[in-house]
Symmetry: C2
């Protein structure tokens, strides 16, 4: 699957992921109004509003970006209708040729991790039939439980040609509380990175592995060091834009081949119309604002490569 | 919420949680047959089978146990119908007076963690109305992202009188890969435990905190040491029974007041009829086998307190 991701990155000349992390506060009034008229101020109404909001953005940017990253938490909060919108969003993105990274940060052990892997990447057996529950292309995974948590995902990745991104160093201010603790001279995030390289070596897909990692844009020095520990693992980089990471911070996340990293922006793309810079578009044309934000981000990131 | 948990533990004289982690392989043939006749070999059929299986067990044990712990991964693998069964299971357990611990091991940062907390414990605002998406009483949380990941859960716990259990030392063999790494003479799980004590102090509910932790039954020496670091935090203990933890391993997880820990068994209860010991019940009477397994577990755990 990482091979397909790379093909799409090269084709679109954009090592960019659009984070589909909608909150109702981002949804323009005309979309909210229509959804609430149809379903009332209910979970169904909220889920419909979120789907129509997503659809507008996807239609406006699918030719520019290789991948999207829906954050499942934002859908889970609207219960079953929310999860149904998550699934509809995944399906719609795939129809448009986009690669879908389910940002779910799942992680458990043994048969439970296997169930998560099945849910998000694999197929579940029901009697004589099998079904894909959510069918994303990649899913983000939490490493705290060790190999017992990761191996079941790798099994599904091998079987279905899918991928994972394992959290190594997250973009948030308190990520250092545990991730930066130093063990025999080396921080925990480096130990996790070594494991990612090891897990990834079982799961190569061309020159890169289907096991990638997450390193926040807000820690560029660490990004550079980790790049060397995991030369074959794609880095999914959150924290660009709204969280403070800039393009010049990101050069060290890429390999000399110009590949190896994909940079996410969520709010910066999906709520672009709320920024001063794109305010001329207005609520009605929120999706065009998102398109312009992608074009600007693409130029910004490519300027350092 | 932990106060209510303690009341129920005392009333039922059972520091026990029944883990509702169904797989289709546990569901007796007569239930599967009926569900597939109604819905076909579909995700809906699987979800219906799982719900009827759960219902049988809940009806048989709700007077014996204070709490249940549905493992959401097992439901997620059946997609939206699976999640609907998760929700129906939570609701049915609450109708029966049971406390529900959603085993979801969620964890992210900022607004994303807030969305997970809202989804599983809180209420989401939709226009002028608010709704509970899943409405469990407790949820399990992964600490890898630090305080930024935990604080949004604590905010919801305070507002709604709910609780969390933070992973400290998990029961699986590879849990040591990261959790046991020693930083300045102290293993990571102890550093996490100290943070749990700190987070928990903001969120007391009587003599215990609404912030608890997870420590596997398979590491009794660590359990004893961690008990001292977190005297006010309830310990949710997985790994008893099927994973190899025994009652005598568990004494050190409890405080001198006989409280402070609640022991989970999943397979050991819900698939009891598959064990040699309970085989006389047969598939048809699987729920009675589960009831007997709970009675036996209760006696076993209470024998060491």
């Amino acid at each position: 699957m990482v091979k397909r991701l790379i093909e799409e990155i090269i084709k679109k000349n954009a090592p960019i992921v659009a984070g589909l992390d909608p909150v109702l506060g981002y949804v323009p009034e005309h979309i909210l109004k229509e959804a609430f008229e149809k379903y009332g101020e209910t979970l169904e109404g909220a889920a419909e509003a979120v789907f129509q909001f997503n659809k507008g953005i996807i239609d406006a940017i699918y030719d520019l970006v290789p991948a999207v990253k829906p954050q499942i938490a934002m859908y889970e909060q609207f219960g079953i209708p929310g999860i149904a919108t998550f699934k509809k969003t995944v399906d719609y993105c795939k129809e448009k040729g986009l690669i879908v990274i389910a940002d779910a940060k799942r992680g458990d052990i043994g048969s439970t991790s296997a169930a998560y892997a099945t849910a998000h990447l694999g197929k579940v057996q029901v009697g004589s039939k099998s079904y894909s529950a959510f069918d994303a292309d990649f899913v983000t995974v939490n490493p705290y439980l060790g190999s017992d948590g990761i191996n079941p995902f790798i099994d599904v990745c091998k079987k279905e040609d899918k991928g994972i991104f394992v959290l190594v160093k997250t973009s948030n201010p308190s990520s250092g509380e545990f991730q930066d603790k130093v063990f025999e001279g080396r921080p925990l995030y480096e130990l996790v990175a070594e494991k990612v390289a090891e897990w990834g070596s079982q799961c190569m897909d061309g020159t890169y592995s289907n096991v990638g990692c997450v390193i926040g844009a807000t820690y560029p020095e660490m990004g550079k060091a980790l790049r060397k520990i995991m030369p074959d693992n794609y880095i999914l980089v959150p924290g660009y834009g709204a969280q403070g990471g800039t393009a010049k911070d990101l050069a060290g996340y890429f390999n000399d081949d110009g590949l190896g990293a994909i940079v996410n922006s969520s709010r910066g793309i999906i709520a672009a119309y709320k920024q001063e810079k794109y305010s001329k578009y207005g609520q009605e044309n929120y999706a065009e604002a998102s398109r312009q934000a992608v074009l600007d981000m693409k130029e910004d990131i490519n300027s350092v490569l």
